[in-house]
Amino acid sequence: MLGWELPPHNSGGLGVACLNMARALSRQGADIDFVVPYTAEHPEINFMHVLSATHLDPIYRYGGGSYESLQILEKIIPTTDHQELLSIRDVQKSYCEFVEKYLSDYKPELVHAHDWLTYEAGILAKKNYGIPLVAHVHATEFDRAGMRSGNPLIHEIEYEGLMMADKIIAVSEATKRIIHEKYHIPLNKIDVVYNSLDENYEKSDYFFRDTTYGYLNKLKFEGWTIVSTVGRFTVQKGLYNFMRAAALAISKNPKLMFVLAGDGEERNELIAMAAELSIAKNVIFTGFIRGKKLRDIYSISDIFVMSSVSEPFGLTALEAAHHGDALILTKQSGVSEVIWSAMTYDFWDEEKLADEIVSISENPALRESLQENVKSEYHKITWNQVAKKCTKIYNNIINHKRY
């Protein structure tokens, strides 16, 4: 398996999905070597071999910042010829070199590559060694760029990877559609395998104390409704629409508090926007949070909104459901294909989102129905089912090759 991150060295859902998938696959008898582009300990992983492609610290896996000197760079990647600073392309180059070397010694039955970051290495395995390739699409550049054009180089790599792959796994029907429509891949080459909630998430002994957020708790006591959203503050997440919808909703119900958990390049605009819309008092920015703090936000919230312009899957919605939130999802999110007990809207339909927020906040029957019913749904899909589907896809490819 070719990946870019594994917990605890992950920044988002990609690492979580890879880890859970690999663990479930190994339970079903798969023997996995997992290549990551950095060197670090993975204390919880004992069911597969994690191979480090470089000596980089995990924080450099997306390239270095502008402050790293060339000396540091020499130290970390002695093999590259570097006239310039460390970029993600350098890391990818080293990653490919490592995979090439690995393949000269070992011949896996199949290569499973996660997202464009690893597609070049996957293509190399297929081209030079004839190893079947499964390209797993957790997100495309169109998703990351909020359905605008994005980075042409990344499109190029994605396109080549998708063309070369024997089979493509998409994390939702929405993603499958994008792969078909934007990259012109025939539909029968793409299988949909939904993600599930992190297995450790439900097992852990997390406990929420009412006193954690005294202020929010007091507001709730006074009849306020807490509405949260979680994610990178980037164009993909549709937060400008969210903010305008918040203002509309507050005009109907002033007892609404909006919590934006996360950080990103849109943060300052969002803060300014809240002020311009005169709702700054009803908006809280938490900054980037993870782990227990994030779970506390889910716990204190009544409503969780996934406002993404495009969201291949949307694991945070399942996490919020686990903590008892009523869900509002854009129809453009993959998770809305598997969760039925949620309200939905088109990401641009600010009025409808506001309507839904006001309705849930003012009708306990609606809020409780959503909160209760989603609980029987969010773990409908398990990682074992995910692994079973992957295994079936693997076997089809391997058997087909023999003929």
């Binding site: 109907k252 039925w340 007990s341 939905t344 009708n363 129905s369």
Partner: protein, 397 residues
């Protein structure tokens, strides 16, 4: 003598559109969606008229002209009649013609196809009298037999119907109530002296209404000789076979290409060719025999789902709170004397609205989800509550 009592229920709700909270206080158009909108009553009515109302009424009419002994009973809701008057008045003419020939009888019910009986007896009685008046106005007859919305029936409803002077009342012939007894007889509701009870033969009715086109059913395809044989065998348990179903079974639930129209056309003449076989209307069915026994249903029984209860309409918190809030507004709405407001409010009592909020099988995406005019039960609830909020606003003006 063996008799079939064919009874068809004709109904369309007036669906409320996706009425936003931002329209509350500004717009009183709740029920007229754009023609191509998801809740467009006009589009849906015209579609069903093409697929079901016209072809089936024509089929029935042709058979009435061919066989003077062929008879049928209808229950027609006020909400359907209002829409037919607007978009297909000739449907009403056809039914009126059948009534004038003495081959069709109209059954009474609530004008708005509501479950008012369970919330407000005054409202319920008002709606039934409205319906009776509408039927007399359009068809010139006074209904003699009563059926409640969704066949929701219990002993106290029967007592109400007797007091109102009805000759008979319709209900589901559910095994759990009947035990070894057959639905093919006339019964007396517990606690009543004169009222007759007609019970739906749900097996033979559902063979047509639900299973007819189901290829997974062991008896598929259902042919007329086979069904005629079942009818004759079942007649051994009693001479009156009550086939009660939705009118839209023909053409809408079972599409034309399943052969449902040909089946029905052939069945009518085949049945009438049998020795001493006939069709009866619901009133005639009540006269067929003296009640053979008393039947008691202390708890409400409906004709829906395997549970035969009201849970598809009134079980989850959204349904019960929406209906409670709705009926709580009654006095305030009526005291305004504003006819338009009262009509809007009453249109919200239609049982299809809480049905759209049903979450019982929502995750499984089954029949409840398939027939809904809304994206989800949650949205159905949201827009309903927005409309109700505006109605409340209007009572304060």
């Amino acid at each position: 003598m063996r008799a079939i009592c064919l009874y068809l229920h004709i109904h369309q709700p007036l669906r409320y559109r996706e009425y936003s909270i931002f329209e509350v206080g500004n717009d009183t158009n709740y029920f007229n969606d754009n023609f191509n909108g998801r809740q467009s009553n006009e589009r849906i009515f015209k579609k069903v008229a093409e697929k079901s109302y016209y072809p089936m009424l024509n089929l029935l009419l042709e058979n009435m002209e061919k066989h003077p002994d062929f008879k049928v009973s209808f229950s027609i809701t006020g909400t359907w009649l209002e829409q037919a008057e607007k978009w297909a008045p000739d449907l009403i003419d056809k039914i009126r013609y059948m009534v004038s020939r003495g081959q069709a009888e109209i059954v009474d019910e609530t004008y708005y196809h509501s479950l008012a009986y369970y919330y407000n007896l005054d409202e319920f009685t008002d709606q039934v009298r409205m319906h009776s008046a509408k039927i007399q106005q359009l068809f010139g007859v006074k209904p003699q037999v009563f059926r409640n919305t969704e066949f929701a029936y219990n002993d106290s409803l029967a007592k109400w119907a007797e007091k109102e002077g009805y000759k008979g009342i319709l209900a589901e012939g559910w095994d759990k109530i009947l035990g070894w007894r057959s639905p093919n007889h006339v019964y007396r509701p517990a606690g009543c002296e004169k009222l007759k009870l007609l019970l739906k033969n749900y097996r033979l009715s559902d063979d047509i209404a639900f299973r007819f086109s189901n290829r997974g059913w062991g008896e598929w395809p259902l042919t007329v000789p086979k069904y005629q044989n079942w009818l004759e065998m079942d007649s051994l348990r009693g001479n009156l076979i009550n086939l009660f179903m939705d009118f839209e079974t023909f053409g809408e639930h079972q599409w034309k290409d399943t052969g449902i129209f040909d089946f029905m056309n052939t069945l009518i003449s085949t049945w009438l060719n049998g020795y001493e076989n006939k069709f009866v209307t619901v009133s005639e069915a009540c006269e067929l025999e003296e009640p053979v026994d008393e039947v008691s249903m202390p708890d409400t029984i409906t004709w829906a789902d395997t549970e035969r209860d009201l849970s598809a309409w009134l079980s989850n918190a959204m349904q019960t709170s929406a209906m409670q809030d709705l009926y709580d507004l009654r006095e305030r709405v009526l005291t305004t004397g504003d006819a338009e407001l009262i009509s809007d409010w009453r249109h919200l009592t239609t049982s299809d609205h809480p049905y759209a909020m049903c979450t019982k099988y929502w995750n499984d995406g089954d029949v409840h989800a398939y027939f809904s005019a809304y994206a989800s039960p949650y949205e159905a609830f949201m827009y309903f509550m927005n409309v109700l909020r505006d109605i409340e606003y209007r009572t304060k003006k």
